[in-house]
Structures are given as C-alpha cells and as structure tokens.
C-alpha cells in the first residue's frame, strides 16, 4: 500500500419493501431500482426485503454489466430478504441466522417465517480487506408495548458478536441495513458500543436528506402515516455504519438520503428511504489508545441495560413455557376424560365433538411450550455471553493494567 493511498467507496442501502402480492407497485419499483443502480454505479448495493427470489434474479440480470457479483442470502421459510450487488469480485460470503426472531403464532407479523439474518461479504479492494455486512432485524409493531424488544436486543447482540468474531482480520468493516432501531434505542447503542462502529449520519459533514436523517418519512406515499403519528419528522431506522483498523482512517465524505421521492422520476423506490454514502479510507498514523476507563463506562452501562432486558425476556419466556406446560397437562386430562365418556356411551356425540378442540389444545399448547423453552434458552445464551463481556469490561475498568482481551485490541484498532 502506498503512503498516499486512498480508497473511495460508494455504498447504497435500501429496504426494498418487496412483499409479493402485498407491496404496492412492486414490479415497477424493482424495475426503477435497477435503472437507478445502473445509472449510479455504486461499489456496493445492499438491499433488504427482497422477499421474492424472482425479483433478485431480475435485478441480477439487469445489473450484471455494472455489478458483476451478486448474492442472495437464503434462510428460514420465506428467506432473509437480504441481497447484495457488487462492482468488485466477492471473495467470500457467509451468513448467520438469528436464533430468536419473534413468534411463529404471530402469523400476521410474519417475521418468524422469514429467518432474519446477517450476511457477510469479504471483498479485497486496493490491497485492503473489506468485511461488508447486511442485515435486517425484527420489526417494531408497537413501540409503547413492544413484545419483541428482548428478541431485538438479542438480535443486536448476535449481530454485534458475529461482526466482532468474523472481522478480526478485516481492515475496513461496513454494516448496512434496516435495524428497526432508533438511534438511541438499546439495541443500537449495544451494537455500536460492542463493535465500535461509527454512524455515517452522525460522522459526515455533508448530509443531504430528510431532517435528522430519517429513513421513513411522512412525505413518502407508501408510508402508513398513522405509524409515524408520534414522529412528525419520521424515524431513522436504516443505517450505514463503519470502522477501520489502526493505521487507517475512514470517513464519510457525503451521505445522501432520498426524501420520499425517487431522485429522478419523483415516485419513491420503497416505503423506506435509500441511503447513499461515499466513504473514504486513507492512511493515518496509529492513534493513542484512549483511556480504557473513560472508554468502558458507556459499554458497561449499555451491557447492564441489555442484560436486564434479556433477563426480563427470559423470565417471561419461562413463564409462558410454564403456563403452556400446565395447559398441555390439562388438555391431556380432558382427552382422557373424553375417551372415557365416549367409551361409556353416555354423551357420546358431545365427547366426539369435543375431541377435535382437545387434540388441538394439547398439540397447540405443547408446541407453545417447546417454543418458549427454546426462546428462554436463546435469551439465556445471549445473557451469558453479555454477562461475560460485562465481567471482563468491569475487571478492565477496575484494573486497567489487566487489559488482556480482544475488546482492547478492537478499541485500539478503531480509527
């Protein structure tokens, strides 16, 4: 690498709102997205909610000349909805499907069936190793009474851990996606604190787009305005986050966000706004490692907060499992009773009529029980990982001389 080395990276991110049969003007929007991406020729285009593989294949064909490399991340029953198009060869890719992702019986929300995940691409650009991640976390349907909060925090933690453990040799780390988290939400703070990623919107000096960088705005004709009632300006839930290792300096030169209209035709590409960032990576002398005590405080406090949230979710999961266990037991008793009545021949028709709902009750409650046992285990696992990191962060705060872990390395490596 030459001393005056500099790498310019143009990145595009969009939650495409591509639900077959449900999303309005899907085919037209996908076509216009393809035209737009071809015109702009980004280095990387990272997309979410491309639920139909046909849409991906259509884009792949259309974008082939400008983006020779592409990948669709398959998972779950419906899919992860994630895909990428790259101007540069993709060296490697893999994915991690989140352990917890809502409830199968919340069919109208559908997240559980999607297999939400984080996709990883490894690219080699100008002698640098770039790890690019694309993700989409569980949606937030009710901010006041969010039954998915613990799952989203667990997903943010798994995402942070996946990045932490897979990016140790990367020079530049990039994360794009729809986090379904507001900037000050617990999951977002946890992710940033543990990975050390920087927020393009907060870092750039040249931002053009809706006020406060919102990526779901009331001006967008596809947005349900009722959902934004409490947020007259809109909400910011889509992100471009990045970091570079020590010796490199990464900055966001410009960040553009669509404003409810497609830049050229005026009609929006999705119900979310697209993010277009120009990042610049260049040499920088390794900086002084900031005081760990000072650095660790926000990490410790956010870890504590996340621990409490996961703990509460775990208790709730166990409670539901217990209730479901009792209901299963009662259902089995009822079934035995019905069998006896039917055999006795007394109220045979009633017994036969009640047979179906009883079997349904046993099977339903049994499945509910198993699901919540698994949920509690998943939350317990995340809590254990978090607790370990918390313990080590506290040790390091108390005895800065005992700085042994990876986290120190990571911190030092951030620009």
């Amino acid at each position: 690498m030459k001393p005056n080395f500099s790498l310019r990276l143009r990145v595009f991110n969009l939650n495409c709102w591509g639900i077959p049969y449900l999303s309005k003007h899907r085919a037209d929007r996908v076509k216009r997205l393809g035209d737009f991406l071809n015109r702009e020729s980004f280095d990387l285009a990272l997309l979410e909610e491309v639920w139909s593989e046909q849409d991906f294949q259509y884009l792949r064909q259309k974008l082939l000349p400008a983006y020779p490399a592409a990948h669709y991340f398959r998972s779950g029953i419906i899919g992860s909805g994630l895909c990428v198009f790259s101007k540069h060869p993709i060296q490697e890719f893999t994915q991690h499907v989140f352990t917890l992702n809502g409830y199968p019986y919340m069919i109208h929300h559908g997240d559980w069936f999607c297999g939400k995940a984080v996709g990883l691409l490894v690219l080699h650009l100008g002698g640098l190793v770039l790890n690019a991640y694309v993700t989409h976390l569980h949606a937030e349907y009710n901010r006041q009474k969010d039954i998915y909060l613990a799952h989203r925090v667990a997903q943010a933690w798994e995402l942070a851990q996946f990045i932490h453990h897979t990016s140790k040799k990367a020079d530049v780390v990039l994360l794009c996606g729809d986090l379904n988290l507001h900037p000050k939400d617990l999951g977002c703070r946890l992710l940033k604190e543990w990975t050390g990623l920087h927020d393009a919107f907060l870092e750039t000096r040249d931002f053009k787009g809706p006020e406060e960088g919102c990526t779901m705005v009331p001006e967008n004709c596809y947005v349900n305005r009722q959902e934004l009632e409490q947020f007259p300006l809109g909400i910011r839930i889509d992100y471009v986050l990045y970091k570079a290792v020590s010796g490199l300096y990464i900055s966001c030169k410009t960040l553009r966000t669509t404003t409810g209209h497609e830049p050229h035709s005026g009609s929006p590409l999705s119900d979310h706004e697209a993010l277009m960032a120009t990042l610049c990576v260049r040499h920088s002398p390794p900086q002084h490692n900031p005081s760990p005590t000072h650095e660790r405080s926000p990490l410790i406090s956010v870890l504590r907060e996340a621990w409490a949230e996961l703990d509460q979710g775990m208790a709730q999961g166990r409670w539901w499992a217990t209730i479901a266990g009792y209901v299963t037991g009662l259902g089995l008793l009822l079934l035995a009773l019905l069998c006896a009545l039917a055999a006795g021949g007394e109220i045979r028709e009633v017994a036969v009529l009640l047979w179906t709902p009883s079997v349904g009750l046993v099977l339903g409650a049994g499945a509910f029980y198993l699901f919540h046992v698994q949920e509690a285990k998943g939350l317990c696992r995340a809590r254990a990982e978090l607790q370990h990191v918390l313990g080590r962060a506290r040790e390091a705060q108390d005895q800065p001389a005992l700085l042994l872990g990876q986290q120190e390395g990571d911190r030092a490596e951030e620009q």
Copy 2:
C-alpha cells in the same frame, strides 16, 4: 514471544452420553468423570452430550479449583449438550447453531430438538491467541440408508465456515468433538480440506489406545454391539484437530484414548472413549507456500462431491415440500366436503368423526411443507457458499497468478 518459546497444551475430549433417565449409571459416571478431570488437571476439557444442565453445574462446582473457567452452550429446546472447563481464563465465547439438524417428526432420534451447535472459546496463552471449538454433529443411525447425510454434510460445511471466518486472527486453532463422521467420510474430508486442520491421531507418533484410534469400541460395555457389527474394531468418530499460523509449529506429542474402561476404576466413563492429547506449539520459520495447484486438487474434488450431495438433498427436500403441499390442499378440500356433509345433516356423525383426522392432516402436512421448504433453503444456502468456493478454487488452479482469496492466506498460515 521469546525465540525458544514453547507451549504445552493438554486437552481432554469426551462425548459423555448424559441423557437423563436413559443413559445408564449417569450420575456415577459424571462423578467419576469429575474425579478423573480433577486428578489429571488438563488445560482444557471439552465435553459433548452433557444434556442435563444440572450435570454441568455439578461438574462446575466439583472442578472449580482445577478449572476456574467453564461454560455451558445453551441452544435449541434440549440444548447443544456442549460444555467446556478450562484451567485458563476464557477471554471470549460464542456459538453457532447449525441451520439444519434433522427432522422434528423423527422424535425417536431427537437430534432436531437438541439444537446441535459449535461453541467457540478464545483463550490467550503465553502471548498466543487460541481459538478452541467444540462441536457435536447429527448422529448417524443407519449407515446404509442415511437420511441425514445431506444435513451432516451441511453441518460440516457450516462448521468449517464458522471456523474459517472466526479464526482469522487466531494463532492456534483447536477443534474437538464428536463429528459422527468416520475419517474418510465426505463431511470429515470437507472440514479438513476447507479449514486445513490436522488430525491428532494421524499426526502423532505416540498414540496409545484402541486399534485405528477408534472412539466407539465393542469392548465398552455401554456400546450397542449390533451397531458395530460391520466394524469389528470399532469406529473413530471423535476427533482432536488443530492447526497453527505461519511462524508457529504445532504437533501432537501424545494421544491417549481410553479403551472401553476408565483408566483407574476400570468401568467406562461413557459409551464413547475419551481423547487426551498433549499438543506442543513452538516457533518455526515460515515455510514455503506449497504449490497451490497441487494443494487445491483434493479441495476441488471434495467440494464437488459435497456440492452433489447437497444438491441431491435439496431436490429431495423440494420433493417432500411438493408432496406435502398437495396433501395440504387435498386435506383442505376434504375439510370443506365434511363441512358440507355435516351441514346437510345426512351422514353427520361420520362427518364429525372424520373432522379430527382431517384437521390433523391439514396441520401436519402444512407443518411438513413449511419444514421442508426451510430445509431446501438451508441446503441451497450451503450449496451456494460451496459453489462460490469451488469456483474460486478452480480459478486459482487454472490461473495460479490470480491467487487473491483468503484460502491462500489460510494455506500459507498453516504450519
């Protein structure tokens, strides 16, 4: 690190056969395992099939003085069964649960309910970063007609990918566990070729244990001899695998395997044999990168073989999904017909009697459909990753000058 640096690592691995209520003499064996581990004082003890968390907690208490660090990897409904005890502090840990792990309707096999996984520990020993992995893959119930083969190959691939992507900054990589794979099985070759891990049994000059290093032997009183009918000496399915980065040399000084009897009391600790390896890590001058063409051939051939296996599994998964889709449709038609008959009042009792099995049919076939759609997606995902690696390996073989990828780095880094 001093030039005459040398690290000695004593590692223990055992599949503990700890199924509550089912495994014979479980409490006694766990107690004796604890005594043995305390006596021997290994650096790391990696255990599989510790299905009961109470067993883990019992061992944790018992081993606390000799192994101050421990972790139990929770996942799925029952758990992963994996746990570790370490003499040295654990810097970090995380886990990856395999996407595919058998079929929920094969209740008597139970693997699906376990949430089989790979656990990762990061340790800092003598200035080196050690990534230790522990895993347990899907069991093989019928070697002649193995319906889980595609799943096990997919698991071996996910395991290899997880190690590949999380160990890029590790100086030493160690993998222990019950792979449920014979040494020449596709999954085992795939894992070794893609990660570059070496097999302690094949590498050591000082082995003591059953012939051919078998880890399930007919001499063990807990082993079902019928299962070993075709293998009079036993089978080797538990492994200690390792590698080190360039500049380091790792070797297996000694490998001891129990021989169907516990070393002291004579009664076996489990139906599997325990592996005890003494590894030695020392400095070594970076070696010449072996000819990539020569190196790549076995990788390409094993990738091709795995691709074909996953492809076949995928076709089968899709076939089952199609069948289940039709059955669901037929079940719905039958339900509609029964409703009409019951409303007409003609053969009401028969209609009511058939109601339960019809609802069961629709729900069962529907769940079967969703499961196999997800299975096909999971296999398709693994196949896509594999295909990409295969493409790049072929490119590199055809044009050795175009060596761009990680794989080269990995190869060069192995001792």
